[in-house]
Subunit: 166 residues, 2 copies
Amino acid sequence: MKVQKLTPEAFAEFGDVITTEGAHSFPINDGTTERFHDLAQIDVADGQGKPLVSLFRGRPRQLPLEVLTMERHPLGSQAFVPLSRNPYLVLVAPRGEFDPQALRAFLVEAGLGVNYAKGVWHHALIALYQVSDFIVIDRGGPGLNCEEVRLVEPVIIREKDLAIIG
Amino acid sequence: MKVQKLTPEAFAEFGDVITTEGAHSFPINDGTTERFHDLAQIDVADGQGKPLVSLFRGRPRQLPLEVLTMERHPLGSQAFVPLSRNPYLVLVAPRGEFDPQALRAFLVEAGLGVNYAKGVWHHALIALYQVSDFIVIDRGGPGLNCEEVRLVEPVIIREKDLAIIG
């Protein structure tokens, strides 16, 4: 399927791109530190939820990749900040009833993070080429916070689909 | 002053060391990802607070470093996860009235993060040798969340104090 380059504009419907580029920033600590401020809408406080900081270590997926399921977290956002400089792949679909026609795939350049807004359909972590670590900020607390949907017609991502970034 | 190697045990009084080592982990995403779960006690929800994800870009400090002030955040924890592989320096003192005798300095090995518990006195970010980026998770919202104290007698950190790690 078609893979796009990740940009904040293209991803806005699904959540945030976590990047210093274009971010509001200001000096702190007597000018020794620049603070790029509030880069993602962390949305985990529903009265019972609390923010969790975890580390996901993703093994690289083999291509072609058959996309069989998508998931969503109805109770909170989920942010991924890469610790490795490897690109990775993100698949999303809008909130609400899952619409396979609305599926979008983004190739994420090294260094950018993504934050899935609450309820946005997304694929589980798709690391590429190497084992990749991510800091993940999501919701802990009571309640069922993961729903899955199975695609009637699997979608295939091929190596050549990733050729959009040099 | 004396600088110690950072370990979870030595730092426990002040907050968390963010590391996969010894962390509870389990496989997710059909075994393609390992989740090192809930690595820091993020404490920002006081009814009005919300978690902020920011990026701090710290310029390296020159040594010897004269420590003149310490700060604390009475309304929330503050976590630092390094994106660079550079060591950095952490100075802390226990909660409550500031006690200069209780000041502790830790050299943080590449890759480890720290989370200052709410109200723990700490020094502003001390990057070493190179410009260093950190993902910071702290509290946003109303209220005064930064207090400073000025040391009556400045403390000096010298290059030779950092020689504890080879």
